[in-house]
Each structure stands twice: as structure tokens, then as C-alpha cells.
Point group: C2
Chain length 242, copies 2
Amino acid sequence: MISLSHINCFTCPVRHCSFLSHSSPEQLEVIDKTKQCHRYSKGQRIISRNERSGSVMVIYEGIAKIHLEAHRGRSFILQLIKPGDIAGHLCDHHNRHGADVTAVEEVTVCELNLADLEKSHPSFEAFQKAFIDMYRQEIMALQERTIRLVQMNVREKVADALVRIADVYEAENGNGTMRISLNRQEISEMTGTTKEQVSRALGELRDLGIIEASGKSLRIIQPVELTTQAGMEAAAQGQPRS
Amino acid sequence: MISLSHINCFTCPVRHCSFLSHSSPEQLEVIDKTKQCHRYSKGQRIISRNERSGSVMVIYEGIAKIHLEAHRGRSFILQLIKPGDIAGHLCDHHNRHGADVTAVEEVTVCELNLADLEKSHPSFEAFQKAFIDMYRQEIMALQERTIRLVQMNVREKVADALVRIADVYEAENGNGTMRISLNRQEISEMTGTTKEQVSRALGELRDLGIIEASGKSLRIIQPVELTTQAGMEAAAQGQPRS
DNA sequence: CGGGTTATTGAGGGGCGTCAACAACCGTGG
DNA sequence: CCACGGTTGTTGACGCCCCTCAATAACCCG
């Protein structure tokens, strides 16, 4: 981990999609002065479970995974986070972090002290409200996810994982091809299966013409078909069902 | 659903284990005056998903389940709640409930208006804080649960479900026998399996001498062994690992 | 006692985890 | 440039777990 000199909050491209999107210039000033910036290389741990801390991390650049170790040594990836996302906001009443966070590729983060973050909000109430809203969304998403993980078969779960992967990785060119930094093992840890099954499921989706996948290169050819495979009704349609 | 006349908050036996445990007599007075009490019979829906509401339900008596319908018609039980527990606090930004809640046996609830609930706290901050704490605990518990559901086999998941069932049902006599109001189908919906598998898993646990189970009657003979089966290290021991 | 629901048990088959072999990829060094 | 070893990805074979269907038994309530 390297501590970086400074990243300017005011010119920050991810400010508008982050937790701070509604802050005024004066409020942002507080954050800009007090935050610390760090860089982690691939595989480095950003946050460790049960570690005590009074700060949160906002991803500035790169992709990270929020994961947990289960008793049998099997790891499980709860979430992928991208620039603008926040990590480490979930902790117990002793301020101990509730999950591990690890860089999946080179990651730059801004460490925001909770006390300073509070000052960046118009009031303490607004600060709390922001957390409540975030937690609410998180619970509802996690509930849905839990049920999906339990009820879907492997191919559906892998299709689901691909949707989430495509959500955090940018396409590199007009082709829509992504260079993902996750290996098969990690995809399996997103779905609760094994690397071999992921390999097979990717092969099936490739044979169906839904994706192109070889190694770390991934292209989603039929996004709608992929979400169908993942068992989600195509919500983008919005058809009334009269 | 029957609307009941009134239940006295001050003499309420579940007040001390509920969301309101820290309220002063004056604050409780607000709740006592404004709340509404209802009774639901077994199987009746208490809260429906996507229904708009500005109130929460506190269980006064009986057991209810928080559940969701997945796309394929399969239902999944997220949580069992008992007297003192709160339901309906999870909603989206339009105040639409995020899950279904149904009575598993005859249930009496107190419906608390959110605006009134707020007044029962020393400050709005304290009110928000209570929600933040509740949400935090919920997320951490749900994370653990998700991973367990993905990684455990059926017998382990059933053992896990029994631990949770025992947590909400009271033993009826000194024998430690419980009369549960859940059928095998519902236990399977707590574990993400089928009623037949639950039946078999219960048979295995019975053969191992860990439980007694026939129909709706359940007795846990070896609680420690049951938690071991469920893959939890016996946390009750608290042995230092020097 | 009879009819409906619920629980149990068996048989069959498919999905998926596991192991193993092989191929592909990548950086290093000759 | 090729050789190489290590990591990662792919594919096949095997076996177990568990879902499904079906038959029987137990239970509950009138």
C-alpha cells in the first residue's frame, strides 16, 4: 500500500456518483482537506474483518471485492465495487469492520474519516439519513441476492455474476469487450460454485451465442438474453400487463 | 384480521426486549396512546410487499415469518420473528414494504406509526440511530446467512434452521419439547430445499440422537451437537486459543 | 369413521462437486 | 528467438447429493 499525496475532490470525476454527490463546495472543502489517499496493488487487502476503524474508503479508481471467509476456508465474494462506491461503512458497535475488502486490480481509494464525513453534510440528521438510505438499499439487494443464490442453478448464477461483472468493468473499445481482472476461481466465489463449473457454464453461454469469453477477455453479445438466463424478467421493457 | 381495543404498553411483557426498551415512561405514553392493535389468525398476511405504509408492526404474541416470493413461484422464508421483534421497518424510498410478513400461528401485533415512534425517542437523532443499529445488525446477519445457505449441505442447513426455530419457539414443559406451527414445507423454505429432504434430514438428526421430532413436536436433545452439525463452532465455550 | 392434509420413505435420474489430465497463457531467462 | 516452469483455464470421468415423482402412512378435524 502506498500513501498518495493528494487527489483533488473538486475535479474528481467520481464525485458525482459517490456518497458525496449532494455535498456543497464548502462541505466538500472539509473532505478535500482531511482525506487521505492510498494505492493498493492487485491482491492487497484494503480492509480486514474485525479491524477497528473510524473511517470509510471511497473507490477512486479500480475494482475491489468485498468478501468473507467461511469456516471451511472457502471464500465468498459478496460484492464488487467500482469507482464512486463506498467500502468499510459496515461495522459493528465496536467499529469493527464486518467484511474483508481486497483489490482485484490496482486500486486507488480515498480514506474519509467518519467525523469529517459528518461535517460534510448539512446536518447530523442528513448524515444519518444517508446511511439509513444506503443500508436499506443494501438489505433489499442482499435479500434478493440470497434467494437467487439459493434457487438458481449454476448456469443461471454465472449469468447473474456476469451481469454484475459487466456493471463494474468498462468496455475497452467500441466492440464492447472487457478485460476483467477476476479469474475463474473468483467468479465461482461470487456464485457459490467451483471454478470448473464456471468454466463449463461460460462454455454453454458461449455456445448459445450470448457471450464471448476466453480467458480474461469477456464480451456480452446479447445482454437481454443474459439477464433472461439469470432469471430476471427484462425489467427494461416496462410493459403494462393488461 | 381483527382490530383489538387496546394493549397496555406499561404492563406489556415484551416491552423490554423490543425496539422500545430504552423509552422513558413519558415517551412510552405517546406510543401507548396512538398505537393500534390487531390480531391475525394462522396464515393471514400481516404485511404485503410493495404495499405503502408509514408504520411498523411489533409482535406482541405469536410467531410470524418474513418471506419473499421468487419468480418461479417458490417462496423463501428470510426470518422468523417472535414477540418483541419488529416487522415492516424495511421499505424503499416510496415507503413500500420490502417483504411479505405472514402469521405462522395466531399473532397479535401493535401497529406503531413512524411519526409517533419518532416522538417516543429523546431526539430524532436517537430515533435514526436506533434504525441504523438495527439495519447494521441485519446486514451482518444476512451476510453470514447468505454464505451459510450457499455453502452448507441439506442436513447442515436443516440443523441451522432448527437452531433458529428453537430460538423463537418456547419449550412447553420442563421436557424441552416445542410445539412448532411450521410444517415441513415451511422449514424447507427456510433452507432452500424441499419438504422431502427436510423429512430425511430430520430423520438423520433423530437417528444421531440429537433431536426428537415427530410431526409438529420437536425437542432438541443435544443443542451443542446441533450447532456443530450446523457448522457453527460452539461459540458458547469462549475458550482462549493460547 | 372418512376425507383431506401432511409426513415419511423409496426409486430414479440429473446436476454438480471432485479429481485428474491436458491445454493455454505468461513472464523469465537463456 | 525459443525454452521453461508456474499459473490459469478447459475438458472428461466418476460418484454423490439432492430434486422429483410416487406410494404409503400418519395425522387432523368434522
